[in-house]
Structure formats: C-alpha cells, structure tokens
Amino acid sequence: MIHLLTSNWSAFISGFGWTLLSSILALFFSLIIGSLFAILEVVPNKALRIIGNVYVEIFRNIPLLVITMFFYLVIPLYIVKINGFTAGTIGLTIYTSAFIAETVRAGINSVDPGQMEAARSQGMTFWKAMRYIVLPQAFKYVIPPLGNQFVNLVKNSSVLAFVAGFDLMYQGNAIASQTFETVNTYVIVGIFYLIITLPISYYMQHLEKKLA
C-alpha cells in the first residue's frame, strides 16, 4: 500500500488538492447563499418567503448528481462553457446551500420571538434587528448542525469524479483501473478524505463546547 501511495503520489496529491479547493469554494459560497435564503424564508414579505421556500425545497430534494449533471451538460449548451471542476463545484454549492438554508432558518426560529419584537419596538428595521440581535443568537444553535453540513459537503465533493473534476475520487478511480489494486486505492482515498473531515468534526465540537 505504501508503494501504491508513493508511486502515485502526485496523482493522489493533485486529487486531494482539487477536492480541498472545491470544498473550500463550495463551503464559502454555500454558507453565503444558504444564509441569504434562510433569511428570505423568514422575512415579513410573503413573496420573498415563497422564493426562499421554493429554492430550498427544489435543491434539497434533487440528487446532487442530477444538479451537477445539469450544470455540466446543460449550462455549456446554452450559456457558457464550463469544465467539470467548475460544474461540480457549482452543483455542490447549490445543493449544500439548500441544506444550510434549512439549518440557519431553524437556528433563527429557535431564537425567542420576543427578541425580534423588542428590537422592532425600538424602531430597528427588520434587517438591523436580524443583524444585531437575532443572527448572533441563532449562530450558536446553528454551529453543531452546520458542522455536519460541512463534513457532508466534503464527502459529497466526490461527485466531481462523475464530471471529470480531477478530484480525489476521480484520481482514485483512475489509479484503481490502472493498477488493479482496487481495495488499497480506495483505502488511501478514504484516508485522504478523513484528513479533511476529521479536523472539521473536531473543530466544530470544540466550538460547540466553547459556545455552550
């Protein structure tokens, strides 16, 4: 197994790098997009709430692979040429953002409605009340489930393999089919995933304890 690792070192590392990059990009953008849609789901304006709901329900209930294929095959046909890595990362971002929106919305709903009422009664706009009072309190409810979402995101990034995204899973498939050392290859791939996901898990647990 050591030999397998060293002789395919650069392929593994490059796959690891693309997986890491895709995960970081998707994490960053899905957090922003997800939080925005979470807030849309709780605004006083009904039309905006419906938009938020529709977005979340659609993308949460379609398989990630389908969303990714859509971006890989359909977007280049009509709009702009994108490679597998980009398509996969966009798919991952959108899919994850729907789950993050649900998580953040649940966090917002856990905050005592009296907090929003007090803020509004003092003349704060809905957005100011959100920013200064509700979201900071929602944050601590959101940390544990958000940690799960981040770990899921990293694992789900293996969808890039289906669209030639050059990620860890893609490289693993290639190495396995060249060397026929299928089991060992996927063990190594698994370990590389753990290198990313375990620190996230531990860090989130640590953060959770600190906030409690």
Partner: protein
C-alpha cells in the same frame, strides 16, 4: 390637550377570530391610562397595535399624529417615540446591560457615542442598577431585568410608553422596585402611558383613567375615581370584586 393615541372604529382579527371589536378610544398627551380585564380579553392585542406589533384590519389608529394603518406611514419612525415594556422583559440576550440600553439610540437615532453612554449610565443610575452595567441579562434577577428594560425604552426618549403586564412574571418581592420605577416614569408630565396590569393598588396610585376590557371590547372607560368607586358595567364590577379580594 391633543391626543397621543386615538382608536377610531378599530377592528382586529387573528384569522377568523375577532380580537378587537370596534375600539374607539382617545388617550391625551400626558395621561396615564390603566387597562384591565380578564385574561384573553385583548389587552395585549390592544397595546401591541399601538406600535404596530399587531396590524389592524379596519379603522384608523392615530399615534402621535400619524395613522399607523396607512401604508405610507413609516412604522419605524413611530416606534422611536413609543416605548414598550414586555411581560417577559425581552432584554437582548447577546448584549450586556449597558449595550441593551445603548444599541437602539446608536443604530436608530445615530446618537453620539459619548452622549449615548452618559445617558445610559444616568438611566441605569435612575433605576438603581449602575453596578450591573457590564452584566449579561442572564446574570441578573427578573426585577432587575425589567428595570433595565424600562431604562432601555427611556433611552429612546419616547413620548409614550406601553407596559404589558410589566410585573406579572416577577417574584412578589421584586414587584415594588419595578412599580416604583414605572411610577416615576408616569409622573413625568409630558409622558403618556398605557399600562396593562393586575396590580390594583398601583393602578389607583398612578392612573388618571381606567379602561376595562372583556371579549375584545372596551366595556368601561372612566376616570380612576369613578371606576374604582362605582363602575357602571356589571362585568367590570364582578372583575373588580374578584381581583380586590385576592
């Protein structure tokens, strides 16, 4: 005297439920009005319509010269002038006591930071809690929370205050301190107050007027003396005799 709050044929529904039935009410600037009535009669609903926390479906509700049912009215502008004190205090849980008082003046009124802090400390002093400035809400007692909540409202320099059962969630030994602060607030000649309470002794002390509600209707609206001496409405009489026996 001109009026601070005026209800004109106001109807309020929660879905099908008719919560406020044709309310007509005028509260003058400087008046202290106590609102009483059995649980579920619509007291909270009525007071919460005054600052738009509940919307009304019909009629007009003029607060400080502006009709809050009018779509073009800026509700946030009205709320600056109308303080609200809640039964469960609703202090900002993520801010310490001082920040609870300073936040809205800073971000709504854009008050100068130095002046804001000076005012906040003066208010804390007034409610007897200057030494709690840097405590979090979770670290102070219910009575202290309510006094901070009153200071927080006063920091906006309101013309009108709404109190919705401000002492109902408090242990008995904490009630007097809070009532003392409210009494001081209502004694300021230009302050208009609407107070929902079951504290009849306190009502007799501070009220100019008493309003009795039941089933979403105003059944009696009298000067304090008339109300406590000989209320005309039968249900008001029954309610009083029950509540005073306790």
């Amino acid at each position: 005297m001109s009026s601070m709050i005026e209800f004109r044929n106001v109807q309020k529904y929660y879905g099908e439920f008719h919560a406020l039935k044709d309310i007509n009410l005028e509260i003058d600037k400087g008046e202290t009005v106590v609102l009483i009535g059995p649980s579920g009669s619509g007291k909270s609903t009525l007071s919460r319509t005054v600052n738009g926390l509940e919307t009304i479906q019909e009629g007009q509700l003029i607060v400080n010269g502006r009709d809050i049912a009018d779509k073009t009215t800026d509700i946030n502008r009205i709320r600056r002038d109308v303080g609200m004190v809640f039964q469960h205090f609703n202090l900002y849980a993520n801010k310490d006591v001082l920040e609870n008082i300073m936040l809205a003046p800073r971000i709504v009124l854009k008050m100068n930071e130095e002046e804001n802090k000076k005012q906040a400390m003066a208010l804390l002093d007034q409610v007897g809690l200057a030494d709690k400035a840097h405590n979090m809400p979770s670290q102070i007692s219910g009575g202290q929370k309510q006094r901070v909540a009153i200071a927080r409202s006063l920091a906006m320099k309101p013309r009108c205050m709404l109190f919705d059962e401000p002492t109902s969630a408090l242990d008995p030994e904490m009630i007097d301190d809070v009532l003392g602060v409210i009494k001081y607030v209502t004694s300021q000649s230009d302050m208009t107050s609407l107070i929902v309470t079951h504290e009849m002794g306190f009502a007799q002390e501070v009220a100019n007027r008493v309003i009795f509600m039941a089933d979403g209707q105003v059944l009696e609206d009298d000067s304090k003396d008339k109300f406590f001496d000989h209320p005309t409405n039968e249900r008001a009489r029954q309610f009083l005799s029950k509540i005073i026996k306790h």
